[in-house]
């Protein structure tokens, strides 16, 4: 009996996961008339599929072109993630290996400071960031958004990587230091090669959160630099052409899925299981 429930649940959940995506895919091939008639589901049976929606978003029909937005998103996400993973990873390694302190504040307080940034909802910093970027002439620029996103991504990286580094036996970098490496060399030569899974996970989360940002893109960019989520949501504004929306939805999801699939293989190999028994 419980087995039936178990499989029913699994099948239900799988269908649930696929439902909105398949709806979006199907809808992306509909004509305006098909959409406005009411809900239709099966192509060729209930409506005639067309590539109009796709042509609309790829600049072919002149309606809009989401490709530049995708490029913007890619650039901004890449740099924000890169800076976050690099500086955050280094900071995490430091927090894992060294003891910092100033009066009563120690490592765990510093880590809490990093994590506390995530509690801040973007809106708390929206106006100040707006004014800050304005005074630096960085509004509506790639660099401005990159800096702002980095502040949100670094905490994630630090939190993940500190935990990860703590699990790599510190005797290994001690050994490297005894053998003549200064801490940077020790890190580079011994710990870094073992850190691929940790870096992969941090990179995945950084990229996902960076790519998905809507709020700061809305507040801090306007005409010159529009990221993909902002552009798509803007399409949602007035007339709600669902066929193009569906197409843009699918279009914007693909890069991220692609990225994760590429990086996923680094998660498999651990690497330090042979160091300590």
């Amino acid at each position: 009996m419980s087995k039936v429930l178990k499989y029913a649940f699994i099948i239900f959940w799988t269908l649930f996961v696929l439902a909105p995506l398949s709806w979006a895919v199907v809808t992306s091939f509909k004509t305006p008339e098909a959409v406005n008639q009411g809900a239709t589901f099966i192509p060729w049976v209930q409506f005639d599929p067309t590539l109009a929606g796709w042509r609309d978003i790829l600049g072919i029909s002149g309606y809009t072109n989401l490709i530049p937005n995708m490029i913007n998103s890619a650039l901004i996400t890449f740099f924000a993630s890169f800076i976050s993973v690099t500086l955050g990873g280094l900071a995490a390694y430091g927090l894992s290996r060294f003891r910092y302190g100033w009066k009563y504040y120690g490592n765990s307080d510093i880590i809490f400071f990093f994590i506390a940034q995530r509690i801040l909802p973007p809106v708390v910093l929206a106006i100040p960031f707006f004014l800050l970027l304005k005074s630096l002439n960085l509004l509506d620029t790639h660099l401005g958004l990159i800096l702002v996103l980095t502040s949100g991504l670094m905490p994630i990286v630090v939190w993940l990587m500190v935990d990860f580094f703590n699990q790599v036996p510190r005797e290994i970098d001690e050994m490297a230091m005894l053998e003549g490496c200064n801490p940077v060399q020790a890190f580079r030569r011994t710990i870094l090669p073992l850190s691929k899974p940790g870096i992969a996970i941090s990179a995945i989360f950084a990229v996902i959160f960076g790519w998905n940002d809507l709020f700061f893109a809305l507040v801090l960019t306007f005409a010159n630099v529009k990221t993909l989520p902002a552009a798509v949501v803007a399409l949602n504004g007035t007339v709600t052409p669902f066929w193009t929306l569906a197409a843009s939805a699918i279009f914007s999801i693909l890069p991220l899925i692609g990225f994760v699939f590429i990086v996923e293989r680094y998660l498999a190999k651990g690497g330090f299981t042979g160091a300590v028994r």
Binding site: I172, E174, M177, E179, G180, C181, N182, G274, A275
Partner: protein, 357 residues
């Protein structure tokens, strides 16, 4: 090229980890640090390696202040008790690494590395990664890596602790052989096993609760432990300590056994004392004048010996017997005591007299 420690101490908050460590380690000698777990052996070694900062005192190497040098500038090697190797390098890669780091060129480094790998008997495993090796082999890689560059200071922190019995015995022998190649190094070897100290060490330092409580030639320290504490540390199994008193030429052990004062205790003033007996100096069931009744508490077969733990009216004793004997908890047996093998300590634990050998 001596390592000199002057009044070295480490205090962390309210915890005293090391205190008053004053000693000079000379090159070419093997020093064994003995002590119970948490006696400070590891902390001392880590302080020498630069991995732990000390709060008091000074450390000099070759007359120069060692303290200012960070770890990677001290020419020191270390072998840990958990087998630590670089997991993503092969055995050869592991052993070559320290040589390359100190600037030796590749061909020479390779030759030296292979030579050391041979010495530890891992020739057939040069291309394997540590993860594919057994515990003993992994530790041998670590040892090879530590020895290959002939560092000024060589530290070994209970390197054989995590290996099984047979492997330990074998590697102990190998160490004597291997350490001949480190003639110019200061070698410091930490262990809890007296057998290793006796076998390997030129000089023995006994540590307890962060201090060095005795130092000297191993055999010396064994024969003349300066306190009950030292006696307990350097004997495995620990000495049995019983109350005793001397009065008018009679040695009374535990108020149950009286004998005339043995030769090595002649001239001791009357009074209350403690006596200690090595487990191997006690026996069960032999006929003899000096017996104490005891009740077996626990029997332990270790290797080819049997250890019997007994409750007696005079105190808790441990007897070591050759061979494997059968005893059961609760058995009442007679323990034979040889007064001429008694170590006499005063009530504070200080040694008064020890039996000669």
């Amino acid at each position: 090229m001596s390592l000199e420690l002057k009044d070295l101490g480490i205090t962390e908050g309210t915890d005293m980890i090391l205190e008053g460590i004053t000693f000079t380690f000379d090159p070419g000698r093997i020093y064994v640090l003995m002590g119970r777990t948490a006696a400070g052996k590891t902390s001392l070694m880590r302080a020498i390696a630069g991995l732990l900062d000390f709060t008091d005192g000074d450390m000099y190497f070759n007359g120069e202040d060692f303290d200012v040098l960070p770890t990677w500038k001290r020419n020191t090697s270390m072998v840990y008790q958990q087998f630590i190797n670089y997991p993503n390098k092969t055995v050869l890669g592991n052993v070559i690494f320290p040589l390359l780091r100190s600037g030796v060129n590749m061909p020479e480094a390779k030759a030296k590395a292979l030579e050391m790998i041979d010495k530890v008997g891992l020739r057939n495993f040069v291309d394997r990664k540590p993860g594919e090796l057994s515990g003993g082999q992994q530790q041998r890689v670590a040892i090879a890596r530590a020895l290959v560059r002939n560092a000024d200071i060589l530290l070994l922190d209970e390197p054989l602790m995590n290996l099984d019995y047979k492997l330990r015995e074998q590697l102990r022998e190998d160490f004597r052989e291997l350490f001949t190649s480190t003639k110019d190094s200061v070698t410091i070897y930490a262990t809890t096993e007296p057998a290793e100290a006796l076998l390997i060490g030129d000089e023995l330092l006994v540590m307890h609760e962060g201090r060095i409580i005795q130092s000297g030639v191993p055999a010396e320290v064994f024969e003349n432990p300066n306190s009950v504490t030292v006696a307990q540390i350097v004997n495995d199994p620990p000495m049995s300590i019983l109350a005793a008193s001397v009065s008018q030429g009679t040695l009374s052990i535990g108020h149950a056994l009286n004998s005339s004062v043995p030769a090595h205790l002649a001239g001791i003033a009357d009074g209350d004392y403690q006596v200690g007996f090595r487990a191997s100096d006690l026996a069960i069931g032999l006929d003899g004048e000096m017996t104490v009744q005891g009740e077996v508490d626990l029997v332990e077969v270790a290797g080819s010996e049997t250890l019997i733990y007994l409750n007696t009216p005079t105190g808790y004793t441990i007897v070591q017997e050759e061979g494997i004997h059968v005893h059961h908890a609760g058995d009442k047996v007679a323990i034979t005591v040889s007064p001429q093998r008694a170590f006499l300590f005063d009530l504070t634990g200080k040694l008064i007299a020890a039996p000669g050998n």
